[in-house]
């Protein structure tokens, strides 16, 4: 029955128009992470606008590529005026905005945040399907797997590393940052320190556990107390007294994109230089 209906519709709608309707022609992305995946997979004419955050080199590894697109600040009015046929958002984007867009008849595709490398691949596939660019997505996933296999062939080290971001937050299991550490052949010191699920690590605990590598976050312009903790004398003392290596958690760490492997390679080089 369903087939017959589909056949009838196929007869009624000219073929070209039908395929146009399947392939989104004017896409707007409002989330930094969907921005990047969309820029990697979309045909240049498909993607119309990306979020303003994608232009910030501090958090966006594709700030230069973003220049090729319009920018949006994620306001319903603004997005509606762009007349997109599809909007990419995060599942955690402002729900009032997403509901408003749906009410206005705009199709919204929400992406869950990636918490692991397999999530990254799933999001690439999801993005590929949404843009009707499945082949490009498959190619990107294959490339990702090849790079990951290459990393996995490196010998495992006993070097411990801990993420220490603004406010002293660390990342434990089930986070992208944890997988990046493991891909770089470190083991995550947060697990032994009793922060297997992440959380705020007091400076005292950090000083006692003394991870071999400390990965701090890059600083934003202007002052914040949250980041002032990274300038505490104890952090400098760790560096000089224990020859601790310190790396920055840069824009490659922010989103579940293939850039996470570049992040792993960057912190890995440091460890191998030392050994």
């Amino acid at each position: 029955m369903r087939r017959i209906i589909a056949f009838l519709i196929g007869m009624l709608v000219p073929y070209g128009v039908f395929s146009m309707e399947n392939t989104p022609q004017r896409v707007v992305s409002i989330n930094l992470c969907t921005d990047q995946l969309a820029m990697m997979l979309a045909q240049p004419t498909q993607l119309f606008a990306v979020s303003h955050v994608a232009f910030d080199p501090l958090v966006s590894p594709m700030a230069i590529e973003a220049q090729n697109y319009e920018l949006n600040y994620g306001f319903a009015e603004e997005i509606y005026m762009m007349q997109p046929d599809l909007v990419f958002a995060s599942e955690y984007s402002n729900p009032a905005l997403l509901n408003m867009l749906k009410r206005l008849g705009i199709k919204v595709e929400a992406f869950a945040p990636s918490q692991s490398f397999s999530d990254v691949k799933a999001r690439i596939a999801q993005m590929g399907a949404a843009l009707a660019q499945e082949d490009t997505a498959a190619q990107l996933i294959a490339d990702f797997d090849a790079q990951l296999d290459d990393l996995n062939t490196r010998p495992s080290t006993q070097v411990s590393a801990m993420i220490y971001a603004a406010n002293g937050y660390t990342s434990g299991q089930n986070t992208l940052a944890h997988e990046i550490l493991e891909a770089a052949r470190y083991h995550n010191a947060a697990l032994e320190a009793g922060y297997a699920w992440g959380g705020k690590v007091p400076l005292e605990i950090l000083a006692i556990n003394r991870p071999d590598v400390l990965i701090t976050s890059s600083r934003y312009p202007a002052h914040s107390q949250a980041e002032a903790i990274l300038a505490h004398p104890i952090i400098k003392a760790l560096q000089s007294d224990t020859h601790q290596q310190q790396h920055l958690q840069d824009q490659d760490w922010v989103c579940g994109t293939p850039y996470v492997l570049r992040a792993a390679k960057n912190i890995m080089l440091g460890a191998y230089d030392d050994n």
Partner: protein, 326 residues
Amino acid sequence: MTIKLFLTTLVCTLFVISLFIGPAHLPISDSLVAIFSDQGMLTLIMYEIRLPRALLAALIGAGLGLSGAAMQCYLRNPLAEPGIIGISSTAALGAIIALQTGFAASFAFALPLSALLAAAIGVFIVLRLSGPTASSLTLILAGVAVSAFSGALLTLVLNLSPNPFAVYEVIFWMMGSVADRSMQDFWLILPFLALGAFLLLKSKNALDALTLGEDAAHSLGINMHNLRLVIIFGTACIVGASTAIAGAIGFVGLVVPHILRPLVKAQPSQLLPISALGGAALLLSADIFIRVVFPTKDLKLGVITALLGAPLFLHLIVKLRKGQAS
């Protein structure tokens, strides 16, 4: 004298307890060894994390207790307190503007000086608005206006900051904390607090005379104009420097003199020094309380002092109303 001795012992005890409390749960014996001999990381923890925290809590508590007592004696009004009348929030505003514009990084004392200047403006406005013999009504109204205005500006500055973390820090600046401070912070504010304390303690005899009324004080040879300047500058030094490092910690200056006043028969010359001791004891215990009861929550000091202070404030108002009725 016995009160002074008791409070001094209390402050010393709390200070030592504060040194032995921390998330790392170091055994007391290890901590002691680490203080007196170089034990690497343990010594660093004691000297770079716990010592500045305890020192700052004691110093800032003492400063706030002292300046609260001085304000109350000068205005002869038990409601005058740096937090309530908005001086702390103007100081916080000064500190935030200095930090966000990058002025704080231009030279070592830029941060406490900016907060001091803003605090001085705050004291000046409140004294000006409430008049020399402040009635409670004008004082509180002036205080509400000043703290609402500077609180709003503070939030605005943090909102406009290009740093996404800044906006979440309104609570730090409004409530205050001494967590994760370093010895540098302590040395940075020590001269300002010492100067402020010197000025306020020096004026204690003048404040004694002032209890007899302004005219009587004048006839006793007290220069009211000078006294006013000394109080403004001394309070601004203390509140400004404290707030620049630890945010606006409220209620210490209200609660402490209020509790201690009956013990010294409300004599300013005695109330001032013991309020300093009492303030140190209160802030040290609040900071210990935070770490023992909510070790993972990083509670702000103002939360604890307000939990103690607000009921007392209400009690004060009820008493005031009764006084007016009779």
